[in-house]
Symmetry: C2
Subunit: 344 residues, 2 copies
């Protein structure tokens, strides 16, 4: 018995920033799940900056979404029908279901979510892919060390917010960079950052001066989520043997601002003379760290020592608008779309 | 009894490429060596690209040469008078004597050179700082691995020539990039590289196509000595999890070519999507590797399995001209200045 399904497909590829015409809401019907598959209904859809890369035709680290294909994305869902051992109807799972109300997914592409640990939406945020990203960028890539200074861009985002709190817990000095006074106040007062600078308040030069003032001992680690003005401002403040964990560059995803970026030798000279280590990473290469990450962070979330914030948009049909806003920093914390009613 | 001494001082700071007026030959007299010091006469002066950075007023990783100060540089010298235990008149030593005919140097800033191992000039090249640089950039920074492909810029220079031969000995595929057909022929026929591409033969796009053709499995490691066109050509050919050992960027030392360089996002995107690790290094941070380096490379030089080439300029007074040529690639292999008669 086919299941009706709403989904958002890639209608056309964006030229620069995505526009509403790049997306199309479609009605479809899903086949019954085969052996080893489960039928799920989406509760929470995650929106993340990396999805912008999937909209381009060029292969990045993953294949692009084909024209007419369902937009990719992680989601928390309730199992309606299971043909897999170990998963039962009513279970809550997380997996790459896409921008869709329902999905038929292989059981080994899903992970069960325990609703007793924390709200199930956290499986897309602080206890999910963004959380692991923060942990890996700080520890595996950035080799964070107590008494060092870290700068984190997109500091109140799903990744940056946790990265900063984990760095504080390690005894680091944490300087956030975020867009707007309200986000900076939140980073200081709620997340406990030592400083947070508003990149919208001035140009790269002014931001650089603020970073130097906030980091009197220089910057040992830069957790890079944005590129753009923040990168330009941070680079000259890096200490000898500093590290840059290159996690994202949302300022450049749609091609804007590239002409205003400094030429490559600006960074290359500093990499050489300061002996910097600059390393890009993609969280899916580091799933082996999931155990260590969960062992550390789940108790912190359960105790309430880790704070997180969500921006919730209601209705799958509003996902494109929410995504376009995310790329401009309109969200505050983790951007979610409520696609279906919460379980229970 | 003061010792007469010729030396070349920094007369003015260059604007862009150095010109003869930036240097001045002076006559001076040296005081007698104090306790723990030795008086030496220079035999071989080493010229190296890093010296360009010392001519600028801005602090790089080392302090600039002051105006009127002796140009810095390593040299091989004969001890004339020793006030230090373990060093005797007649010994051959290597140390930072500068662009000068004589020097008074503390004994712990000198290392004795055994003339029976190889020509003493090799203490400034294949068995000296450039040799250690090659070893560190390949092993410590680049984590070179058999069956990988490495691209080496300035491939016939003092650093690149050894880096490529060590990489070949490790079982890597070695692709050099050098300036001119004669250097490329030497890299292929004498140094045993698998390929060597002439960066003067075309633009960055053409060079990029040649690199892709020469590296059908992509590039795992780029040993970066030049920046400029070669960097621009290599970056898009880097494999996932590739490494870039940033050792130098001679193409940009005098500021030329920077306007033609691609904007920073060009590299940043590739660092992220290919998960590259880009790391700058300065050999003086890695002297702890000297033992391992010498244990590996001395026997190879003694057996003749490592080839090296020197360009010798006669006379301290000609060092500025030789140095200006070095910055343009006029040398072929290690650039030396014969300042005094060889010992023995």
């Amino acid at each position: 018995m086919p299941t009706p399904c709403s989904r958002i497909v890639l209608a056309s590829r964006p030229q620069g920033e995505p526009v509403p015409e790049n997306f199309r809401l479609e009605q479809a019907s899903l086949p019954d799940p085969g052996p080893g598959e489960v039928l799920v209904r989406t509760i929470w859809l995650s929106l993340d900056p990396y999805m912008r890369g999937r909209m381009d035709a060029a292969k990045s680290y993953a294949a692009p979404v084909p024209l007419g294909g369902t937009m990719e994305g992680g989601a928390v869902a309730e199992v309606l029908v299971s043909n897999a051992d170990g998963i039962a109807a009513g279970d809550i799972v997380v997996g790459r279901i896409g921008w869709a109300s329902h999905g038929v997914v292989r059981h080994d592409e899903l992970r069960k979510v325990d609703p007793n640990i924390a709200p199930i939406s956290t499986a897309l945020g602080v206890l999910g892919m963004p959380g692991l990203t923060a942990w890996v960028g700080l520890n595996e890539i950035g080799t964070a060390t107590a008494d060092e200074t870290v700068v984190i861009s997109a500091a109140t985002g799903a990744v940056g917010g946790l990265a900063g709190q984990l760095a504080r817990a390690r005894g680091m000095r944490v300087i956030g960079v975020a867009g707007g006074a309200d986000k900076c106040a939140y980073a200081l007062q709620e997340l406990g950052f030592d400083a947070c600078l508003d990149h919208r308040a001035g140009d790269a030069r002014a931001l650089g001066q603020e970073i130097r003032a906030a980091a009197p001992d220089g910057v040992d680690l830069y957790f890079e989520n944005t590129g753009g003005k923040t990168l330009q401002a941070v680079l000259p403040a890096m200490n000898d043997f500093g590290r840059i964990s290159v996690c994202g560059m949302i300022a450049w995803y749609s091609g804007q601002g590239i002409d205003a970026a400094p030429p490559l030798p600006f960074a290359w000279r500093l990499i050489l003379t300061r002996r910097l280590r600059v390393q890009g990473f993609i969280v899916t290469d580091h799933t082996a760290c999931s155990g260590a990450f969960m062992r550390e962070v789940v108790p912190m979330v359960a105790r309430g020592t880790i704070k997180f914030r969500e921006t919730v948009t209601d209705g799958l049909e509003n996902a494109p608008q929410a995504f376009m806003g995310l790329l401009k920093g309109a969200n505050f914390g983790k951007q979610l779309v409520r696609v279906g009613a919460d379980a229970g």
